[in-house]
Amino acid sequence: MKKNLRFIIALIFGKLAMWLQKLLGMNASYFPGKLAIKLCPDFLGRIDKPKTIITVTGTNGKTTCCNMILDVLSDAGFKVLNNRAGSNTDAGIATSLISGSTLGGKAKFEYAVFEVDERSSLRIYKYVHPDYAVCTNLFRDSIQRNAHPEFIFSFIDSALPDDTHMILNADDPISSRLKKDNKRSYFSLSRLPTDRDECVNIINDMRACPYCGGKLQYEYVRYHHIGKMKCPGCGFASPKADYLASPDYEKRCFTVRSDKGEEEYPLINDSVFNTYNQVTVVTLLRELGLSAENIAKSFSHMSIVKSRYTNVEKNGVEVVTNMTKGQNPVACSIVFDYIRSEPGVKEVIVMLDDLTYKKTTEIVTWVYDADFEFLNDESIKRIVVGGVRMHDYHLRLLLAGVPEEKIRCVEHETDAPAELELDGTDKVFILHDLTTPQLTKQVRDGILARLEEKEAQA
């Protein structure tokens, strides 16, 4: 699309808005792009773009994957345009493109990595054609926005161009079917000791074959619908992986077998979910032509971003904050499963209210889709639920079989530390929502203060 006067005006106003917001110390990650699109609705189509565009979408893991891709590319010396600082909608991407362009609208970057919100696919892919599109997975998410995975699948599938190289999860029978005629590279994790013969999660959105309706047979299930399956009726089956990873959690590394040979990479984190994120990144970057050495070197000094996971030790107790997206039942279930599998005696604070709804009522459907049953474990001796929805969490824990005497309810999350036992406890997990960083810090500080007091008394 050619640049016209309307576009030039929108670009100038976008740049001005960005400059003003920065001057005022504001995060210029959304508004400049929003303004530009308002002034020129096809702004995204008219602005010059970097030569190579990578997009990352999916229900879970897209931010982590994007951050890792950016870090590896930056370490390798590439200058990469991205929307890390802000929104993953069309306005966020327009803002990035404004910041990455000259006053004449020419692109200043060779590469771009954009995180794309699934629901924004139509508005983004209409104008931004990725060379590579990564989809981490598709699960149930917020029912208000995303309805169900089949809807999101069709949304992304109809929006992405036919010539985009897809990077897909072979273990996900939903997202692996995206853009079936496009060039594609599949990644997978080989069978793990923790895999099961049957799904133990409440949610499995791929029990029936999407083509013939027959019951799918799983060779193994990792979690939810992730695993290796086939349909005895029509032959539909998990695709063969181009990049097959085998993690070794004791040695904290994983090997990847592909047509490029066998390569070893360090693990950043010991959760299966984060291993998937790393394998996703390896697959994309190896397809892009980066060397295994470069990728491994970057992985060796990476960590999960502090807003999502922190841990601090005090008086022999490890206090962990773990961002656990409320409204996203699969993300919650994965964290619950991780907590029960961690060694030692644990206590858990569940404060997952979305503070956008603080004084009202929010949809709690996800509470019934999430596997609170995983928190019914002998190694977890106390669960404190807090916030407006404490009765809902209390009820859900009881339904999950957690004994009443293990549960404490607090109206205000800041009262949660006082309800912990802390004697003989190895770890305290604070599970919090994306919207509550300050509150989480207050709760964590409350626990640390109690531990300090105990240390002083001893």
Binding site: I143, G213, T360, D392
Partner: protein
């Protein structure tokens, strides 16, 4: 007592599996029959006391219609005979005359409820609900791509005091024909509404209905009800 759940492998979105899990946990003497898509529905050949179907995808609705169409007359007979039905979210649309897509094409429904549904897949309608039903108030949520149209003034389920009825212009929510109850509310609907669970149990012949974790469930219900009443006040 037999409670038949239709197509739980896909008609289970939005936590709806807890509708039948909770009901059966409150009535351990009841037999819970989970009829998969490839199974023959039990109601076709024997007496069941209750039939439940939950939220599903749009494709799932079409599969459900296809599977149930041969049993249409039997379903009519069961509704007329007072068997208890609970259809939540978009499951009730399966029983309507047709479902209309955005392009005007129609999918014929079972035609047992004189209403029709219209889909609008680009606009999701979300709302919080407080509805009057007999001597109780029902709470819940709507999150839907489709709404129902037609006149349900003679057979509505509940009246919306807060939120909407079968569509944005209506205050009359859902369908009640004898003991056939359909609501587009999610929640899961029964988990959100312990008084209605007791009501259903009484309909099913339980003399003194008692709920599992009744005290905690009632606390959650009352808290939500109070929140919505406060929201109603704020709106005024």
């Amino acid at each position: 007592m037999k409670i038949e759940v239709l197509f739980p492998e896909f008609a289970n979105l939005f936590g709806d599996c807890w509708n039948w899990k909770y009901l059966s946990r409150c009535m351990p003497e009841a037999e819970l029959i989970e009829t998969g898509y490839n199974d023959e529905p039990r109601f076709a050949s024997e007496k069941v006391d209750m039939i439940i179907m939950g939220a599903m995808t749009e494709h799932g609705q079409e599969l459900a219609i296809k599977k149930l169409m041969p049993h249409r007359d039997r379903l009519r007979e069961l509704i007329d005979g007072g068997v208890v039905f609970l259809m939540t979210a978009n499951a009730g649309e399966v029983f309507c005359e047709y479902i209309e897509n955005e392009d005007g094409s129609r999918i014929a429904g079972l035609g047992l409820v004189p209403l029709h549904a219209k889909r609008d897949m680009m606009h999701r309608l979300n709302s919080t609900q407080l509805c009057a039903f007999e001597d109780m108030e029902l709470v819940g949520f709507k999150a839907e791509f489709s709404q129902l149209y037609g006149d349900n003034s003679d057979f509505y389920f509940a009246e919306a005091k807060y939120g909407i009825g079968i569509n944005k212009k209506s205050k009359l929510e859902g369908v009640r024909i004898k003991n056939y109850f359909a609501t587009s509310m999610v929640g899961p609907f029964l988990m959100m509404n312990p008084p209605f669970v007791k009501y259903l149990m009484a309909l099913l012949g339980v003399k003194e209905p008692k709920l599992e974790f009744e005290e905690t469930n009632m606390a959650a219900y009352e808290r939500r009800r109070a929140d919505i009443i406060r929201m109603m006040g704020d709106k005024k």
